[in-house]
Amino acid sequence: MTTRPGLRRALALSVLTALSRASVAAAQPKQEAQPEITAQPQVTAQPEATAQPTVAPSIPEQSVSLADLDSQLGAEPLAAAEPARGLSVYGFADAGWHKYFLRPGSLLRANLYEDNTFLVGNLNVYLSGELGGGWRSLVEVRFTYLPNGSRVVGAGGVQRTSTDAADYTNVSLPRQTGSILIERAWIEYAASAALSLRLGSWLTPYGIWNEDHGSPTIIPVTRPYVIGLEFLPERQTGLLLSGSAYLSDSLTLGYSLGISNGRGPIQEYADLDENKAVTARLQLNHHGAGDLHLGAAAYLGRYTNLDQVVQASGDTYVIDEPIREQYDELSWALDARYLIGGLHLQSEFVLSQRKFTERGRPMRTGSFEFQPDDRRLGGYVLGGYRFDWLGIMPYATAEFTSLLNYWETFRSPTRDVMTVYALGINSRPTTNVTLKLEGNLGLFHSEHAQGSGFEHPARAIQAQVAWAF
């Protein structure tokens, strides 16, 4: 996803078990234990993989579609009860205001628009298709004003990208154009509860808020920095297998296993090294005294960026592909969430190790030293309580991120640690609208911080209205 840059920016097998057991009959009260019934084992719901083939389907109209059903039901068509399920268009958006409090001259001003600012954030549209026969698709696009206004920090200072274009429909007056980001585009076949196959571009199944990325559903104004930094790739292009095993009435084990192009400069349509990345995730959900969710994910892949140089070789030409940058990465993520009543506790932790190959270690931008290998880690905890009244949830978050300095090239690549605290109120006065007000404090720990953007604490106030439509 695509939360707007903010202070943080600166700173989810086979163990299928019968769901319900015939033994529950033993628990039936005497007055209900009739001879006919007890002589007949109860047929209970089974996970698909363990469905009993000996039980003949007693429902004859297995191929009945909703349209068929509608025609049979006559005057009260079922399809008329709800919007058609073929193609569904919906989405979410957010708008807000923020003010950053930065020290005069702070380098953070190069990345953040400090002055109090209204803004339109995300505008994401979903196209969801139920294709029948177990097939469905989801396309999500984000409309954005970018790259207009995107800042590039270079030797010549900070420059804003301009996308001014002459609008031929309006006497060629200048118009600032935006762009479209394809958040995800996939098709999925659900073979059973235990196996679904998804092909295309999908959000990496790790943690909580990487997939659950809509601003109406995220409790704070922006996602924690550790998610936005993409210690695991936000999305990948490839094949994703997933499924669930119902271990008991209250316990579900889920898994995801993906193979993809991995991270890369054009990962959506080209793998520059044929080295496929692997993603694996296990998650456990328990529904009892509250809902407990535990997840663990791992990603293993190689990033490759290369150039193509055409060279003459005798009477022919050959293409040389010198490697510009290449590294192997192994990342782990853990997540936990517990909900009971209005209480909401949530945490994620991510660890990413990056090791450059011999030929793919780049120079640090603007310096004469090589980029070192890096171990990046971070996490956050969130606690909140949602009241019935207006759906108000006061919440607090604490997060930390630790990584080597790579953006301030005048400093050595020493370890920077960022801690960000937030207190806020999230309210959902109606089902589709979320209001947020939040204060942030960012504290930084860095060697040689003098003159750095991390020399002084940063503060911010942020407000947001997010809505689903």
């Binding site: 039936q28 009260p29 009739q34 019934i37 084992p41 569904s88 559903t217 009435d249």
Partner: protein, 159 residues
């Protein structure tokens, strides 16, 4: 293990002795899950109901996927069902489905505008599971026990 299926008794007769109070239901709302009268399903666990009505893929006998059909939002039956089975009040359930949709396109079970139509849908749609007030039962559908318990049992959840 080979399972045998109880198909002999009529749905109406089964209804009578499985659900003796149905002949004189009290005003207190008591819900019963229903399937087609010819369905082999006689019992379902609360956990399976929760999975079906949160649109998780669950199959019944013969490999037919269960398909949940809700009563309309705002109905007393819907509110009680969501509260007991999903553990959510109306607002929370509504938020849940908004969040699910944004997360990945998972959609809630269809809601059917009235009980008469709901019974017809359950009879005709393969794998359909619905729920009605005890007083709304008729011979076209089969009431299903929950974890082996009917409405007369102490601790029956859907009341």
């Amino acid at each position: 293990m080979k399972r045998r299926v109880f198909l002999g008794a009529s749905a109406a007769a089964a209804t009578h002795w499985l659900w003796p109070e149905s002949a004189g239901a009290s005003s207190a709302l008591v819900l019963v899950p229903i399937v087609a009268a010819g369905s082999p399903v006689t019992d379902i666990s609360l956990g399976t109901l929760r999975r079906v009505f949160t649109s998780q893929p669950v199959s019944g006998p013969g490999g037919v996927s269960f398909v949940g059909f809700n009563q309309p939002a705002g109905a007393r039956e819907r509110e009680l069902f969501d509260r007991v089975v999903l553990g959510m009040g109306p607002e929370e359930a509504a938020r849940y489905w908004v969040d699910q949709r944004i997360r990945g396109g998972v959609r809630p079970p269809r809601s059917v505008p009235n009980v008469a139509l709901l019974r017809q849908v359950v009879v005709r749609y393969p794998g359909a599971i619905g729920y009605v007030a005890l007083s709304d039962l008729d011979a076209s559908v089969r009431p299903v026990t929950i974890n082996g318990a009917g409405p007369a049992a102490p601790g029956y959840p859907l009341r």
